[in-house]
Every structure is written in structure tokens, then in C-alpha cells.
């Protein structure tokens, strides 16, 4: 087989070489200058450029039309809705129009002024008014972007001032997540990476009593709807990034540092599963899963790792359930505190 492929390649090269010889010989006879661009070339290329522009725009709208419904659903957090609104404003009023208009002029001029036999260029070296216009107009557009962007940024990144909040630590390691709840006292216990062991996987400082009522969960964690969730992120080994795309929340987990992000979820998992947009999206997903022969799935919020962290980076995930307050209270009451778990492991 390999020999056959090799033979085919060799034959192809020989055939190509012979073909080239013929072309070279005929070129020698005609004495053309192939490289010179003729007005026929310009005419053809100018027209193709215009056709390309039309197809390019068609491709853009086709994608936007077809794939927009696969974009993440509307944000499930309060600040996320603001981000979405700002995103739409930026996209619809600045990014997409600029993309379409400037590309249009580029290709239209390329077509219109293609060098035909009678085309003459106009000597037009500069024009201060024009140049001033397209320095000042972008500046105004950018001022809009900066002002709104920074307003929201400061709101999102400011420290939590709410008394009633849920404090959770997301602990990342190669290649899974652990969520640690502050427990009844609302305070997370201190940690010490030297105390990490089989029974103390997140490195709780056993000397700190604040940590005794902390609750550790894996694979899936719950949060209540409508309450401020303050996340603290830590990492055991390398950089990770806690990415909660449905909530428009992301923050890196940095070894040796505690980072933070806060948000208020506004839709429970159950509400999301009934949302018409999400339903349609899940139908598309399940259709594809059916083709693969996989089980159908229901919508779930997810925590992903979004910073390259090693071989299984692509599979570092944890489910997240947003509950009503009552469901959440019931769930958290069933979880065991660090102290009870630790005692149990030691007595084994």
C-alpha cells in the first residue's frame, strides 16, 4: 500500500514535470510576459472581488441566522443581563455596521476602480477634513464603549456589600473541582496547602475552628436563586479558570492567591429547562446526540475550566444546580460538615 502511494507520487511528479516542459516550451515560442497584469485581468479580478463580497456577506448572515440559536441563552444572572445588553448594543450599533460598511466600501471601490484600458487615477494625496472626521468619529464611538464598559465593570467587580449572601469557594486541581460552602457561621476556614492529604483534599487548616462547619461537595453543587453568590477561587497546582458561561462569570484560579467573583442567579435550573429558547437548543443538542447514539440530556448549568491546565483540561467540569431557596435549604441540610467527615475518616 505504502509502495503504491509512493509510486503514485513519483508518477505525479514526473507527469507534472513533463507538463511544465510543454508550458515552458510554448511560452518560449510566444515570448509572452505572463506576469503582466492586463486590463482583462483587472476586469475579471474586480468582478470576482465584488462577487466575493456578496458571498462573504451572505455567509455572514447565513451564519448569524443559523448559529445564533446555538449561542448561550440569555444570561441567568442579574449582572449578566447587563453584559448581554451591552454586548448587543456594541455589536448591533458599532461592530457589525463597521464591519459591513467598511468591507463594502473596500470591495466596491476595488470593483469600481479596477484598471480598465481607459481608467485614470486621480492624484489625491490627502484631505485634512476627511482625516479629521475619521479620527473624531471613532473617538466618540469609543468613548461610548469605554464609559458603559467601565460603569458595568466597576459594578461587577466591586466588593460585595450585601449581608445576606452565600459564600462558596471553588477549589481547582488537575482535573476536577471542589465546592466548599462556608457553613452556618458564614465564614470559610483558613487553609494550608501543606496539610493536603487523602482525607483533607482541599488543604483545610485543621487548627482553624471556623472551618469545622464548612461543607465540601464534588461533581455537583447547588446555589439558591435570587441571592448573592460570592465565589472565592483557589488552585492546588496550576492555573485554572472557573468559567460559568450561563452566568457570564469567569475568574482564574491562581495558586498562592484567592480570587473572587460575585453574581446573583435569577433563574433556577427548572425554570431554564422550561425556557422556550433553551428547549429548542436542547432539542438540537439531543438530535445530534441521537446521531452519535448517546442518551438525550436535559439542560444543566455547568462550571468549566477555561485555562489550559494539562492533559484532561477538556474534561474538567462540575454540574451546578440553581434551586429555589426552599430546595436549596433542604439540600444543604443534608450535606455533612468537614468536621464530621474528617472524624469519620480518622475513625475508620
Amino acid at each position: 500500500m505504502k509502495l503504491l502511494v509512493l509510486l503514485a507520487i513519483v508518477l505525479l511528479i514526473i507527469a507534472g514535470h513533463q507538463l511544465l516542459r510543454i508550458i515552458e516550451l510554448s511560452r518560449g515560442l510566444k515570448k509572452t510576459t505572463e506576469w503582466q497584469v492586463t486590463s482583462a485581468d483587472n476586469d475579471r479580478m474586480g468582478k470576482i472581488l465584488l462577487v466575493f463580497m456578496i458571498l462573504f456577506f451572505a455567509f455572514f448572515f447565513w451564519q448569524a441566522n443559523r448559529w445564533n440559536e446555538r449561542a448561550l441563552p440569555l444570561a441567568s444572572s442579574e449582572h449578566g443581563l447587563k453584559i448581554d445588553a451591552l454586548w448587543d448594543a456594541n455589536m448591533n450599533y458599532i461592530v457589525v455596521p463597521v464591519f459591513l460598511i467598511t468591507n463594502f466600501f473596500l470591495f466596491w471601490f476595488a470593483f469600481k476602480y479596477r484598471g480598465l484600458s481607459n481608467t485614470k487615477a486621480v492624484f489625491f494625496p490627502h484631505n485634512n477634513k476627511l482625516e479629521l472626521a475619521w479620527t473624531v468619529i471613532p473617538a466618540f464611538a469609543l468613548a461610548f464603549i469605554i464609559i458603559f464598559g467601565l460603569k458595568y465593570w466597576n459594578e461587577i467587580m466591586s466588593e460585595s456589600d450585601k449581608a445576606d449572601k452565600v459564600v462558596i469557594e471553588l477549589y481547582a486541581k488537575q482535573f476536577d473541582w471542589t465546592a466548599r460552602y462556608a457553613g452556618k457561621d458564614g465564614k470559610l476556614g483558613e487553609t494550608d496547602f501543606r496539610q493536603i492529604s487523602g482525607s483533607n483534599s482541599v488543604g483545610m487548616d485543621t487548627a482553624d475552628v471556623l472551618g469545622n462547619d464548612d461543607i465540601l461537595v464534588k461533581n455537583e453543587f447547588h446555589i439558591p436563586v435570587g441571592k448573592e453568590i460570592v465565589l472565592y477561587m483557589r488552585s492546588r497546582d496550576v492555573l485554572h479558570s472557573a468559567y460559568l458561561p450561563h452566568f457570564r462569570a469567569q475568574m482564574n484560579c491562581v495558586p498562592g492567591m484567592i480570587t473572587t467573583f460575585k453574581f446573583i442567579p435569577n433563574k433556577t435550573t427548572m425554570e431554564m429547562r422550561k425556557d422556550p429558547y433553551v428547549k429548542q437548543m436542547m432539542a438540537g443538542i439531543n438530535k445530534q446526540r441521537d446521531k452519535f447514539g448517546d442518551e438525550p440530556v436535559e439542560f444543566d448549568y455547568l462550571l468549566l475550566c477555561n485555562k489550559i491546565c494539562g492533559a484532561s483540561h477538556f474534561n474538567m467540569q462540575m454540574n451546578l444546580i440553581v434551586d429555589t431557596q426552599a430546595d436549596y435549604d433542604a439540600w444543604i441540610a443534608k450535606q455533612k460538615s468537614f468536621k464530621t467527615v474528617a472524624v469519620k475518616t480518622e475513625s475508620k
Partner: protein, 607 residues
């Protein structure tokens, strides 16, 4: 520089020149002429051919991992043939090798193709030619620059053949992943070789850049004032300055990482528990690394882009048969971009845990850089307006560059806004953005340059028809590969995932990934057309005339020969700016820079 110095230099050059001719005829051996050459043209060719080879390697890597992304778990015999049983058993790519390929693809493309290849080729070729100099200020350092580049290339390629595989922490090599060998196999010997290779690369880059700067400042021929320089030279000059100011920071960044890796320091490491035990390193911070890395990393983007924009300015003006619109505004925007590029690095770090207030400062500076960029795009479009456009393959690639510069640039506005960055940071939206700017724009600039200056590089012409076919395949496939990736980003797909199949939420994106991959494969195969045209024309192409594109700049006044010293007689004298195309009252539609001004004629775009 006073005229005294210039004429003194010229006298020296004439003497030098006679001496060299003597060499040419009698003494110069194959080794000094083609291998350890100090001639800027030969060095330029060396850079170009090395970069072409590296680009083929990096492109092949991208095809392999694109196939993995579109058809995860499929068996590909050719992947096995290329990578062997260790990294692709039965033709299924290994996850560690996937990361290694992504890392080396990025490293090669950014540094070896678009920095070394682009600047190395065209700064070397065009700076002496277009300023009217016999050669670079120091031919010897220039030669060293290439050979350091070659050495670093060899080390980087060599690292692909070692037992644990090459570096695989992403091209940004963030520690601790890159610092702790237990974290990933690629952080063993592979990372050491990456770091050594990059250090040598920076030596090469510095030697080159210093030479470019000195040549532009000191060796301009008589009459060649700074405001008569072609925009290519302006772009290369600012690029070189950016390189000199930012690459040493990468070296310090790398040096500290080497210390952490090999000598037990803790610049970037703290509180790490890995491989079943806590590490001793305490007190460092990976964020320090990120600051140092991006202090180079962001100017690097413009080191990649400015030469491409410079090349395009020249090609668009020549082939529109019109002066570049707003010559001084173009210089101003190059300077503005150059300056601002040093105070925007933090926009890569909004989500790193860096103080959010610092983030807001970087939002402001980053968005400012959109203004000079917009000015450039508008000026290109206005240059086309009412022109007499000659669609050479180089011109088509330049138009492709402007299109992709706009398309990739506008999404930069989104990413620069920290609020909007929260949700698309490190997703395919970013991948789409920077590939359209660097993978399309900068590469198109490089292609444009090769097609346009091939007659000066190899004294022959490239085939036009093949150039056309190459252009259309490349443009369509490149957009086809990267445009859909915006939509992957909107669906929240993180970059550097070996497969998206472990998350049901990404299952409905399979066809988007397939479109990307199929485009990438066709686009990659289409580069065969270019490679054939390139190597074939080098030896068998039609002989180049002296000034095939009816251009004004000085390189087209040199004879069609590898003349050591560039001009056989005295150096040309410059009388005008380089953009007198279709000037009213002139017989031809171009007036070379060496033609004296007529009485009462105003230079620099005046009527």
C-alpha cells in the same frame, strides 16, 4: 545626520564597494556567498526560506489538531504516520500531543514565521534598498542575526522529537504548568528547549532590530529625509524599536522561569501541591509572569502586524497608481500604535485576578489604539477610491489584508472591553479574533510582499495565474476556517480543549467545527500552489525586468542582478517622496524618487 557624514559614508562605501567587486570576481566562495553571507539580500532570502519551511510545519500541525476537533476519536493513518505510535496510536491523537501541537503551532507562527520571517525577510531586503544604502549598517551582525534565528529554529524543531514531547503549556507558557514538570510531560525537557530556543531567538531579533534602526537613521542616501521614506521603512523602523524595547523583557521573564524550573527559586510559584507532595516554593506569583510575558506579548502583536501594514501601504499605492492617502497620518498612526502598544498589555489579563481597577486603565488605553488603526483602514480604502487598480496577486493579497484587518479588528473592540471580555475570554471568540488579525492579515501581508518583491529577491517573476488561484483559495478558506469560530465562542466553547465532546452543551456545534476543519484542510492544500510557484519561479520563472510594477521607490533603480553594494555606480540621490503616482502634468503615471523636482513643483503630495 549632516550631509558631511553622509558623503563621508558614501566615500567609504565606494572604496568598500570596489573591494567587494574584486571579491565577487575572484575570491568569494560558495560558503561566504550563500551560507555565511553578510549581504542583506542573501540574508533576506535565508530568512524567507526558513520561514516558509517553518510555516509548512506549523500549518501541518494545525491540520492535525483541527481534524481532531472536527472528528474526535476518528482514526487517521496519516496522523499516525507523522506522529508515530506513541503520540497517535492507531491514528488517534494523544491529548498531551494535542496540547503540544497547539503550543508549537502558536510559537512557530507568532515568532518564527511572523516575527523572524516577516521582519527578517522584508526589513533586510527593503531597508537598505529603499533608503538607498549599500547594505545594513553591520553586515556581520546581520549574518549573526540569521544564524541565531536558524539555531533557535533547530532547537524548537528538535524539541518535537524528544521522548516526553515538546512544550505543551500553550504558546503563552503560563507557569506553574510550564514550571512544574509533574504537571504535564511537555514541561520536562521540551520546555527547557523551548526556553533556550526563545532566548536565542531574542538574541537574533535584537541583533536584527538594532541593525535596522541604525541603518534607517544613519545610512539614508542624499535627499532621503525621514518624510520621504516609504511607509514600509517607517513600519520596519517602528517594528524594530518595539522589538528592542520589548523582547528583552521576554528574556527576563524566561530567565526567571528557568530559575524557577532548575534552581529552586519561587518567582512564579507559591502554595503548590502536586505529584502527591507540597512544593517548597512559596511567595511567588504567576501573575508576575503574565505581566512580564504580555509586556512583550502585546507589542509583539504589532511587531507582527506593522510590517504587514507597511508592505501593504506600498503595494496598494503602487497598484492603485495613486499616492497613499494621508502619508503623514499614516506615519502618525504607526507612531501612535507603536507607543500605545506598550500600555495595553493588561487587556490579556482582565480575568487573571489582577486588580480590577488596573483592568479599567487598560480598557481605556486599549480602546485608544482603535483610533490609529481605524485611520489606517480608512486611508487604505480612500487610496483605492478613484484609482486605476492593477490586480497583481500582491495587490489582491493587500486588499485581503485590509478586509481581514477590519474584520478581525472590530471584534477587538469587544475583547478590549473588560465587561464584555468576562464571558468570551479564552473562548473561540478570541481564537477567531486573533487568527483573523494575525493568521489572515499578517500572513496576507507576507504573501503580498513575496509576490511583489520576488523580482528583487530572486530576480525572476512568479506566475500570475497560479498567484490568482492561490489568493482565492486562501482568502475563501481562511475566512471559512476562522469566521465560524466566533459562533463557537458565543456558545461558550473554551480554547485548547482536546475535544468538545465531553460536554453535552457543545454537541450541537459539531457541524461548525467540521466547516472550520474542512476549510482549513483545503486552505492548507492550496498552499501547495504557492509553494510550487515559489520554488519553481525561483529557478525557472520568467526573468524580471528592472521595474516590473512601475514603482517609484529606490529598489527598482538597482540592476537585475545580485550586485554586492546594490548600485554599481554612485548611490542614487532622492528628490521627492515615494508616492508621486498619476501626478498631474507628468508624462507617465509614476515618477521615481530619483527624478529631480521640476521648477515650482512641490514635493510630498502638493500640486
Amino acid at each position: 545626520m549632516g550631509s558631511v557624514t553622509n558623503s563621508a559614508l558614501e566615500k567609504e562605501h565606494l572604496v568598500h564597494h570596489d573591494h567587494v567587486h574584486h571579491d565577487d570576481d575572484h575570491e568569494e566562495s560558495f560558503i561566504t556567498k550563500y551560507v555565511f553571507s553578510q549581504d542583506h539580500k542573501t540574508i533576506s532570502r535565508q530568512f524567507l526560506i526558513t520561514a516558509v519551511i517553518m510555516a509548512v510545519v506549523a500549518m501541518t500541525m494545525s491540520v492535525i489538531f483541527r481534524m481532531q476537533l472536527a472528528w474526535p476519536g476518528e482514526k487517521f493513518a496519516f496522523v499516525n504516520a507523522l506522529l508515530g505510535d506513541k503520540w497517535a496510536k492507531d491514528g488517534i491523537l494523544d491529548p498531551n500531543m494535542y496540547l503540544a501541537l497547539v503550543t508549537i503551532h502558536g510559537t512557530i507562527m507568532v515568532f518564527f514565521v511572523l516575527t523572524g520571517g516577516l521582519s527578517g525577510t522584508f526589513s533586510n531586503l527593503l531597508i537598505p534598498y529603499q533608503v538607498g544604502a549599500r547594505d545594513m549598517a553591520s553586515g556581520f551582525l546581520n549574518m549573526l542575526s540569521y544564524w541565531f534565528f536558524f539555531l533557535s529554529t533547530c532547537i524548537m524543531l528538535g524539541s518535537c522529537f524528544i521522548d516526553d514531547g515538546p512544550a505543551s503549556a500553550g504558546w503563552t507558557i503560563y507557569p506553574p504548568l510550564s514550571a512544574v514538570p509533574q504537571a504535564i510531560p511537555g514541561s520536562k525537557l521540551g520546555m527547557t528547549m523551548w526556553l533556550i530556543s526563545m532566548t536565542i531567538f531574542v538574541v537574533s531579533s535584537l541583533l536584527g532590530s538594532l541593525n535596522y534602526i541604525i541603518t534607517v537613521f544613519n545610512l539614508r542616501t542624499k535627499g532621503m529625509t525621514m518624510t520621504r521614506l516609504p511607509l514600509t521603512v517607517w513600519a520596519f523602523l517602528i517594528t524594530a524599536i518595539l522589538g528592542v524595547l520589548s523582547f528583552p523583557v521576554l528574556v527576563s521573564c524566561v530567565a526567571l522561569l528557568i530559575m524557577d524550573r532548575s534552581f529552586g527559586t519561587s518567582f512564579y510559584l507559591s502554595d503548590i501541591y502536586i505529584g502527591g507532595r507540597p512544593l517548597d516554593n512559596v511567595g511567588g506569583s504567576p501573575i508576575l509572569f503574565e505581566h512580564l510575558f504580555w509586556f512583550l506579548g502585546h507589542p509583539e502583536v504589532y511587531i507582527v502586524l506593522l510590517p504587514a501594514l507597511g508592505i501593504t501601504s506600498e503595494i496598494i499605492a503602487t497598484n492603485s497608481r495613486k499616492p497613499i492617502f494621508g502619508y503623514r497620518a499614516m506615519i502618525g498612526s504607526i507612531l501612535a500604535i507603536g507607543f500605545l502598544s506598550f500600555i495595553v498589555w493588561g487587556h490579556h489579563m482582565y480575568m487573571t485576578g489582577m486588580n480590577p481597577f488596573l483592568g479599567s486603565v487598560f480598557v481605556f488605553t486599549t480602546l485608544l489604539i482603535a483610533i490609529p488603526s481605524a485611520v489606517k483602514a480608512f486611508n487604505y480604502i480612500t487610496t483605492l477610491w478613484k484609482g486605476n487598480l492593477q490586480f497583481t496577486p500582491a495587490m489582491l493579497f493587500s486588499i485581503g489584508l485590509v478586509s481581514s484587518f477590519i474584520t478581525g479588528g472590530v471584534t477587538g473592540i469587544i475583547l478590549a472591553d473588560s465587561t464584555l471580555d468576562i464571558n468570551v475570554h479564552d473562548t473561540y471568540f478570541v481564537v477567531a479574533h486573533f487568527h483573523i488579525v494575525m493568521g489572515l492579515s499578517a500572513i496576507f501581508g507576507m504573501f503580498a510582499g513575496v509576490y511583489h518583491w520576488f523580482p528583487k529577491l530572486f530576480l525572476r517573476m512568479m506566475n500570475k495565474k497560479l498567484g490568482y488561484v492561490h489568493f482565492w483559495f486562501t482568502l475563501v478558506c481562511a475566512y471559512g476556517t476562522f469566521f465560524p469560530q466566533h459562533f463557537l465562542g458565543l456558545a461558550g466553547v473554551p480554547r485548547r480543549y482536546y475535544t468538545n465532546s465531553n460536554f453535552p452543551m457543545f454537541d450541537n456545534l459539531v457541524d461548525i467545527n467540521e466547516i472550520c476543519t474542512i476549510s482549513a484542510i483545503i486552505g492548507a492544500l492550496a498552499q501547495g500552489i504557492f509553494l510550487f510557484n515559489f520554488f519553481y519561479s525561483m529557478f525557472r520563472g520568467e526573468k524580471a525586468p528592472q521595474n516590473p510594477w512601475n514603482s517609484n521607490t529606490l529598489e527598482w533603480t538597482t540592476p537585475v542582478a545580485n550586485t554586492h553594494g546594490n548600485w554599481p555606480g554612485a548611490l542614487p540621490t532622492v528628490h521627492r517622496w515615494p508616492y508621486d503616482y498619476s501626478k498631474p502634468g507628468k508624462e507617465k503615471d509614476f515618477v521615481p524618487q530619483t527624478v529631480p523636482l521640476e521648477e515650482g513643483e512641490i514635493d510630498g503630495g502638493g500640486h
